[in-house]
Symmetry: C2
Subunit: 357 residues, 2 copies
């Protein structure tokens, strides 16, 4: 869902959307245009990864820049500073890097209802009749496009003041570690609550909400988030990933833009499956024990999804999302934030966790 | 070839080797150990990518840190400063990132005579009987290990003083752009001298020699390399890549640790093939036109290698390597560098370009 689509749906029409569409998107386009000029100056006759990156960034919900915007606003600062734009551009590029590489790691076919970037490049390769294997080249070029996004993001972030860069470092570390736990937990078919929770918190929670809030605040000269706001970030961030996990199993693929069941087929270390390991009856346990193996089919995934609903694991995760958001919003109310900031944070918490895509 | 092997061979036993084995390697081990501690504190029960990265870094020639060391020495500075160590650690991690991702992009089986990292992880996956497809997981985990190396490198580099960071930025940009031209030139089967030369200079030349020299000098407070030294870097860097291209076609796989012919099978935009496009007789031209297609076999690659030797393209590239090194060493002599620095730069030029692996 693009920011414009959010606006059209009437879900979010606050100052952060204006910031993203009016300031951030043109700024990002400028960053990529300057990069293209530098490439031409160095003798590159082609620059398709920059065009692909531009199109890629344009299609997202821009959640991280919007949390960063409100983290900055908490300190009562004027939001349209150059440094805030730079930080938010770095966040969007970091996220593009994360998604492009994530789709490669998971060998996913789709993202945001469109072919994943490596599939799109493979299709382009076929259309143009290029040499070599289209799928291999699609993967190679997408990998490099992810590296490029990370390189530009790192460069933008390195120019931030030291307190903001410290927050950035931590976000990148948590993103990589969370992604590692996701892969390693899948390979080991780990069903512990500890690994599922750490993966959720690191991979999405802190990286998606608390980190961007903290980054915005650091740029406004506030080195530590108010305790309530920091807790809000972790709670909403965790709920964001829980929603993602539920949509991956029970979502409508026409809305999520991703086929359902991929997480079950690979047996990802999600909190949903950690709950399931406690709650499933024997038939479901037998299915769960086979996730991640070649013997586990799409029909098994559909059956396991049914079992997850029947045994109450799905409800337990839904309840945790609701509880997290309720507690998070109450904490924001207690933190004495300006009313328009508190209202925006309520809205963003809903947008991040009640979404259907 | 590890630094220790270089030493045992008597090829290089100068101060840069002592720096790499005595200072840099323990420093890098410390960086990875601290990273592991941070992972444990954040709830990670596993940390295999850090161990893999440690083993990976230990096996290289450490050329880039050694050029950086001498770039620093040009300014007559004491070499064992913390910042130099930090910069050289960043260089080694950046190179690990580049090689790991390069092997993924090229779908290579081996590196430095051992299985490429993604193959090694796939083999470990099989041995441990983990869930999911071993090859997919090998690729995913290697991709992430590359990302991790880049993340730590970027973090170390961001803490360097601004003039050094500017050099770093440029190196990263050139590395990514060079890699892009390599992939895009392969897909388009481009045989122009312009693209081959830009790819060589960007991907290896400036990234391997001029960039590290400049980084070391910047750390010693010398913002611009003496003109002769800068030219030395570009010439030796280009010759380094030309040697790589020749070894990829004519090398001894037992010494290079890579199968020969991969570059021919994919039809990479190398200067060797750009020369070949001018010099090959009709039979060789017909072979060249089929590189990068499914119709081009290993036997064709062997035949094309023979044609490349017969038509003089191989000799032309050999001559260019010799000319580059000769001119580079003469420039160093003219630049009035301290004699031990000039001698070391001569030795490194030979090590980088006369190698058989």
């Amino acid at each position: 869902m693009s920011v414009n689509a959010c606006q059209a749906d009437g879900i979010l029409t606050s100052a952060d959307v204006t910031f993203v569409t009016g300031d951030l998107q043109p700024y990002l386009a400028g960053v990529l245009t300057r990069e293209g000029t530098a490439w031409k100056e160095q003798g590159a006759p082609w620059w398709d990864p920059l065009e692909m990156l531009g199109a890629y960034i344009d299609g997202g919900k821009a959640l991280r820049p919007r949390f960063c915007y409100w983290g900055h606003a908490v300190a009562g600062e004027d939001a349209s500073t150059q440094l805030l734009l730079q930080a938010c551009a770095a966040l969007e590029l970091l996220h593009a890097f994360a998604l492009i590489h994530d789709d490669l790691m998971d060998d996913s076919d789709t993202r945001r209802g469109r072919p994943a970037l490596h599939r799109e490049i493979a299709a382009q390769h076929r259309r143009r009749g290029w040499a070599g294997d289209p799928d291999s080249n699609g993967r190679a070029m997408a990998l490099l496009t992810g590296d490029l996004a990370f390189a530009i993001a790192s460069r933008l972030a390195a120019a931030l003041p030291p307190p903001a860069f410290t927050v950035w470092r931590r976000m990148v570390d948590q993103l990589v570690l969370g992604q590692f736990l996701d892969l390693a937990g899948t390979a080991r078919q780990d069903r512990s609550h500890e690994v599922a929770r750490a993966t959720t918190l690191l991979k999405s929670g802190q990286y998606t909400v608390t980190g961007p809030l903290r980054l915005g605040a650091a740029l406004a000269g506030v080195p530590h988030l108010p305790a309530g706001l920091s807790r809000y970030g972790d709670l909403v961030g965790e709920a964001f990933q829980l929603r993602d996990d539920l949509l991956g199993v029970f979502g409508d693929p026409r809305r999520t833009g991703k086929p359902v069941g991929e997480d079950l087929l690979s047996g990802k270390p999600t909190q949903l499956l950690a709950c399931a390991a406690d709650m499933l009856p024997p038939r479901g346990q037998a299915l769960l024990a086979r996730t991640g193996t070649a013997a586990f089919t799409g029909a098994d995934a559909a059956e396991l999804a049914g079992e997850l609903a029947r045994c109450g694991a799905r409800d337990r995760v839904e309840r945790k999302i609701r509880d997290n958001v309720r507690v998070a919003c109450a904490l924001v109310n207690r933190d004495g934030l300006p009313p328009h900031v508190a209202a925006a944070l309520h809205g963003l918490a809903m947008a991040a966790t009640a979404r259907q895509q």
